[in-house]
Structure formats: C-alpha cells, structure tokens
C-alpha cells in the first residue's frame, strides 16, 4: 500500500513538472507562423511550442520564466530574425544553458536569412523609429516567402535529426506542392486587389503589398513603432481627401483606435488581417491564414 502511495506521490510530483516527451524534436517557435510551418514539415516527429501568439506584438515580448523553461529543452529555435526579437531572444538564449540553440548552431534558425528582404535601410538611426538594420522583418505576409523558408527549414530539420531525413523531405514535397497550388489560387482570387490603395497601421505589410500589388499610401504610425498621434492621423486624413484609399489595414495585435478613427472619417472599412496563424477564426493554419487574409481584403472592395 505504502508503495502505491509513494508511486502516486512521485508521479504527481513529476506530473506537476510535465517532463516533455523525449522522442520528438522540441521546436521553440518565436512566432506562430514558424511554429505552424515546423508542424507542417515535422508532423509527429516534432513537438512545437509557440513562444508568442497572434495578439502579441512580437517586438515587445519579455524573456519570461515559461519561455526560459521551454527554450532550455528545445532542440531548435525557429525565429524571424532581422532583429524582430532583439529585445528578448538574445537574453533568453544566454540564460537557458542550452548550447544547441545558440546563434551559429544548427539549432538556431532565422527565417529572414532565406528570403529577399525589403526596406533594407541604407543607414539607421533611432530617430527614425523602430527600424531594422536587416530590413523589414514581417516577411510572413507573403506566402512565397513562407515557401522559401519551408525549403530551408526542411533541410535544417534533416540536419538536426538525420534519422528522419526522408520523412521531412517527403513532408516538404507534399507541403510545397499544396502551397504552390494555393499561391496560384490566392493570386487568382486576389487579382482585383492589384493597385488597391491602402493605409496601414504599422509598416508591417510591405511583403503583402509587394505580392498582391497593393498600393500603400500612408501609415498610421508616424514612425515605425511610434503610436499614431492625433496630429499625424489628421495629416493622413487630409492626405486621403486628395488621394482616397480603399481600406485601413492593421494586424490583429494592433490597438484598433487609430484605424477606427480614420476609417470613420475617411468612410472606408478597417481590415483586420490575422497577420499570423491564430490571428482569426479561420487562420487556424498557414493555408487558413492566407485564405482569410485574401478574403478580408477582397471584402473591403465590395
């Protein structure tokens, strides 16, 4: 009896610390889109932990205890890079005591290293706001970027876990095929969006604009990362009188007040795009993310 009691106490104590499964590769994803991609490519061979959700501003995250604990056990971190996570990832990595995921190791994966970066500043200064020396980090708004990152990530997974190389490769082939078909579909659906004049909250949509041929007239933030001020909003409104836009676009995590204010006065709709996986009901995975993004943009034209 006492043996059973001991067993119970022991397992309860262990359970409270939930020791992670040893079989699967532990992936620590800085943003949900990379977590979703790791899931597509790794299937049941990976255990994905998303460090942030779609309602968090990825610039402003803290190296909180739960993230440290998860990074400690990670075999691989998959992040955007281009200094999007500069405020919290370096300190997180330094404090984990996990050599596998340090920069330069195979377990450290930066998606922005595998795509064409846009808005790479020729010089940087903090008076310009939250600019990123490596270019605009919000690369996930163009599905073609996700396709390129998928290729690199599949190769990296195979490097870290060579035993399952064939598995990752076949998952990648399947994903790449479906993804390519989906891009063709989205581009067809989004044809009416070409040239659509828009206003954005944060300069977070350059890749989306580049993909669909949207025409960004203005941003609500006077400088990247600086909250919309009433003065700047009035200027944008005045600009829209001369140069009308079809919609104001913001990410799920942006505060809605600025865009509502402008939309009401300029008599245009606000389009809240999911921005990443989990940002809306329909954005349950990467496919849903772009299905929903394209549909929401189209609905603004009606």
């Amino acid at each position: 009896m006492s043996n059973r009691l001991l067993k119970f106490v022991f397992s309860a104590a262990l359970g409270s610390f939930a020791v992670p499964a040893f079989a699967a590769l532990n992936i620590f994803a800085c943003e949900p889109e990379w977590g979703a991609l790791a899931h597509e490519l790794g299937g049941d061979k990976v255990d994905v932990y998303n460090a942030t959700n779609a309602f968090q501003d990825p610039h402003h995250v803290q190296a909180k205890p739960s993230l440290l604990a998860r990074a400690r056990n990670a075999d691989m971190v998959v992040c955007t890079g281009s200094q999007l996570e500069i405020g919290w990832l370096p300190i997180l990595l330094r404090q984990t005591g996990n050599p596998k995921i340090q920069p330069g190791k195979p377990g450290y994966f930066e998606a922005s290293g595998y795509v064409r970066m846009l808005e790479v500043p020729s010089s940087v200064d903090r008076s310009l706001g939250d600019v990123h020396p490596g270019g605009n980090p919000h690369i996930q708004t163009d599905p073609r970027n996700i396709g390129m990152v998928a290729d690199a990530m599949a190769k990296r997974l195979a490097e870290i876990d060579p035993a399952n190389r064939a598995y990752y490769q076949s998952n990648y082939k399947s994903f790449a095929g479906r993804w390519q078909a989906a891009i063709v579909k989205w581009e067809k659906e989004a044809a009416p969006l070409r040239g659509m004049p828009i206003v954005v909250h944060h300069k977070a949509f350059i890749y989306l604009e580049n993909w669909l041929g949207l025409n960004e007239l203005a941003a609500l933030e006077p400088k990247p990362g600086v909250e919309p001020s009433s003065g700047h909003l009035s200027e944008v409104l005045a600009q829209l009188q001369r140069q009308p836009a079809k919609a104001v676009i913001r990410a799920a995590y942006n505060d809605g007040r600025g865009s509502e204010w402008l939309a009401e006065r300029a008599k245009i709709p606000v389009v809240v795009v999911p921005f990443t996986v989990g940002g809306s009901e329909r954005a349950k995975d990467l496919f849903g993310l772009f299905d929903d993004t394209v549909q929401r943009l189209l609905s603004a034209l009606k």
Partner: protein, 462 residues
C-alpha cells in the same frame, strides 16, 4: 484624365464669351476675330494634347522607376554576405549607454541621513543618501559580445553623480555548457532576490527599496563565480550558487584565501493562461564581515565608531506577478512585486573602536519588506505605488547594552510615481515620496528623472 473636364470647361467659356464680343463688332472685324479665335483654339488644343502626352509619359516613367526600385531593393537584399569585409571593427562588441539625470527636492537636509536602527558603514550611507538639487543620475556604459564559441563577456561602468566611475559588472559567462548549466565568473550582481540582478535603469522607482538599502547597501555585487542550473521541466525552475570575495556590504574587504560570501537561490515561475506570468524565489546570502565599522551615538549622546565581526545571513523571499491582456504588454499591463528580507547576524562587537574599545558579543535579527504595483494604463504611460517598512528587530549588544541605544522605531517609506515612455529607449519619471527612515524626520521628496538608452538594444527582462 482630369485635364478633359478642364478642356471642356474652357471650350464652353470660350463659346459663350465669343458671341457676346461678336455682336458689338462689324463683319470685317468679325471675320478677323473668327480667324484669330480659330488660331487660338488650334494652338490651345495642340498645347493640351502635348501636355497630355507628356503626362502619360511621366506616369509610365514613374511606374518603371518604381518597379526598377523594387527590383533593386530585392536584389540588394539577397541573403547578402556579411557586410564589413576587411573592416577591422566588424567584431567590435555591442555598446549600450544609459544616460540618466535627476532633480531632487527634499523637505529635510539629507546630511544626517540614516536608517534608524540599522548599522550602515559610512561609505554605504554615502551611496544611498539622497541629494538635493540637480545631479547626474547613475549613467551607465555597457559593452558586451560573444568572446568565442564558448564564452560571452560583459562590462558595465557606472558613472556616479560625484564624478567617479565604478565597475558594476565585468564578467564572462559560458554559452556552451550542456544540461541547462551556465557558469559566470568575474564581478556581477548576485542572483539573489528579484531586483538585485537588475540594473538601476530598469527599476520602476528612482531609488532602491529601503530593505535593499538597509541590508544590501542598495544592490549587492560580488567578485567570484556563479553556477546556475535550469531544470529540464516545463515549469521554470532555476537554482543558483555563488562564491565570491564578499568585499561589499554586508561583507567587508578581506585578504584571505577562500570565499567571503556565498549565495544560494532558487526561482520558480510560469504562466497562468495567456495573460498572467509569475516568478517566486527564495535566496540566502551568507557573508562574514571583519570589523565592519559604523558611526553611532552612544547612550551618553557622544559620537562613536563601532566594529562588527562575525557571520551575517540574509534570507530573501521574492514574488512577481505580471498581467497583460492576451500577453500583449504593449498597450496596458500590470506588475505586482514584493520582497521580504530577513537578516540574522551574530559575532563580536567592539564598542568605540577609537578610544574605549570595549569588546562584547553581538546578535541581531532584523527584517524589512516592500510591495509595489506598477500599472501601464495607456501606451507610454505608467503609474506606480510602493510601500515599505523595516523592523529593526532584536539587537543584543551583550555587555555593551549599557553603552548603546536600541531605538524602538520602524522606518517607513511610501512612494508614488508616474512615468512617460515615448519609446522603448526613453523614460521621464516623476516620483513623490514620504521617507521616514530617520526617527523623528518625515522627509517629503519630489524626484524628476530621465533615463535614456542609446546604442545596442536593451533586454526585455522579466
């Protein structure tokens, strides 16, 4: 485009104006005028046509330029080889600079500042004593980088208002030890408590809590080694051990083999839902001060200097709770933080080291706590309250009980602050406080402070 309606309007205006003029003139004039009008019409039409053509050309040019620019940006941004090439500065470490300034308005002269019932060496009092008027707050220069594939290095200079510079931290740290282990060596802020390891510019109030001032002289740094272990669990569990010189208060300078200060601590933490995170810890700092001197007033009212030699054990229990809706701290968030410190010291005491030099025993158990809450109620704006109290506890001077006073007094301080953070890199703070650290003195304090961060991006610590 928009030219066409204008052309039309001009045409109509012309057509209306022309007959009016014509009625007043004879037929010869009329023919001439007609031919003139025709000429003008033709010339205007030609000019408008040429303008339209030029506009069209300009539009195509702009489109081409834009697409060329886009292509250029795209090509330029190809996964580029690391910039710098043969630049010898390419490996320069990251440099961060904190600039801070303070204006203080105190209702009482801080010259006799002390924390009644707590025996602080004069050098520590000098550090924690507030100053009136304008002063340079603690500005900092930090330099850090990876050393190689095994180590990371960090140096922090603090520039003090009195024009001195001190080395707050200068350490190396491993990055490649397995199993959640990290080894640090050099000078560093001890990992005890919650606030101790954090630099002054990340504090939510202008000054350190009273308990930190009374028991740690503000903040405890040590020359030595630190080993940290992060448990392989989904719940955060960190255990740390330190051994060091222990030259700083509550320890004293020493010239001996071995360690003058040891510390042990454990922290546990996690999330509750997506909106809440917490961290709690228990720490012990053991030092062995040798002849730690402080200035006091004896029972007869005369100034004396006493010295303590013995063991000092400081326990700290700390807890932090943070709330942010959906984990998004950008617009609003709340942070509740509190620590309880309890110090037990025993050993020998020399009363009036300069003249009488009466030896005796010494034992004291003293404690203190603070609780503070900081609420960010809008982007950029935060407000906070802090309340704190010390208990000078039981102090036994042995045979010197007759020579020294044992005031029955509990120092108290309350503070409120509002700060404005126009960006992640700048902060302007107003703090109002009522400080009753000294028996019989209630000091009303007003602080106005700025803290700015330049250079390498600061870390968002929990």
């Amino acid at each position: 485009m928009s030219f066409k309606p204008k052309t039309l309007a001009a045409g109509i205006a012309f057509a209306l104006a022309a007959p009016c003029h014509a009625q007043a003139a004879d037929s010869a004039d009329l023919a001439q005028i007609r031919s003139e009008i025709k000429q003008m019409q033709q010339s205007y039409e030609a000019r408008i046509a040429s303008l339209e053509a030029r506009l069209k050309q300009a539009e195509t040019d702009v489109k081409q330029a834009a697409s060329q620019a886009r292509e250029a940006v795209a090509t330029a941004a190809q996964p580029a080889p690391a910039r710098g090439g043969d630049n010898i500065n390419a490996f320069n470490p990251g440099i961060s600079l904190i600039l801070s300034g303070l204006y203080s308005n105190l209702s009482h002269d801080p010259a006799n500042y002390q924390i009644t019932g707590f025996h602080l060496p004069s050098s520590v009092l000098g550090d924690i004593r507030p100053q009136r008027g304008f002063s340079l707050g603690e500005s900092e220069l930090g330099i850090s980088a990876n050393v190689d594939q095994l180590f990371y290095g960090n140096l922090n200079f603090a520039i003090h208002p009195d024009n001195t510079v001190s080395t707050e931290e200068a350490f190396i740290q491993t990055t490649a030890l397995p199993q959640g282990l990290t080894l640090k060596a050099g000078r560093f802020f001890s990992g005890i408590g919650y606030l101790n390891a954090q630099h002054a510019h990340t504090w939510d109030f202008v000054d350190a809590p009273l308990a930190y001032q009374a028991f740690l002289g503000g903040q405890f740094n040590n020359d030595g080694v630190q080993l940290r272990w992060l448990a392989p669990t989904d719940t955060y569990l960190e255990i740390g051990a330190e051994a060091g010189r222990g030259a700083n208060y509550p320890g004293t300078g020493r010239d001996k083999n071995g360690a003058g200060a040891t510390a042990l601590y454990a922290h546990i933490g996690g999330d509750v839902g997506t909106s809440n995170s917490w961290l709690a810890g228990l720490s012990l700092l053991a030092t062995s001060p040798q002849d730690r001197q402080w200035d006091d007033v004896d029972a007869a009212g005369a100034g004396v200097t006493n010295g303590f030699t013995g063991n000092s054990k400081l326990w700290i229990a700390d807890g932090v709770w943070k709330w942010a809706p959906n984990g998004n701290a950008h617009d609003t968030n709340f942070k509740l933080q509190g620590e309880y410190l309890r110090r037990v010291e025993d050993g020998s005491l020399v009363f009036d080291t300069a003249t009488a030099a009466t030896p005796g025993t010494y034992s004291a158990t003293q404690s203190g706590w603070y609780v503070q809450g900081v609420y960010q109620f809008a982007p950029y704006w935060r407000a906070g309250l802090r309340t704190e109290r010390l208990d000078s506890g039981n102090v036994d001077y042995g045979v010197n009980n007759a020579n020294l006073l044992r005031p029955d007094y509990a120092p108290v301080r309350n503070a409120m602050m509002v700060d404005y953070n126009p960006s992640e890199f700048s902060r302007i703070r107003l703090q109002l406080a009522q400080d009753k650290s000294r028996q019989g003195v209630s000091d009303n304090q007003i602080f106005l402070q700025y803290q700015m961060s330049l250079g390498a991006h600061g870390a968002h610590q929990f």
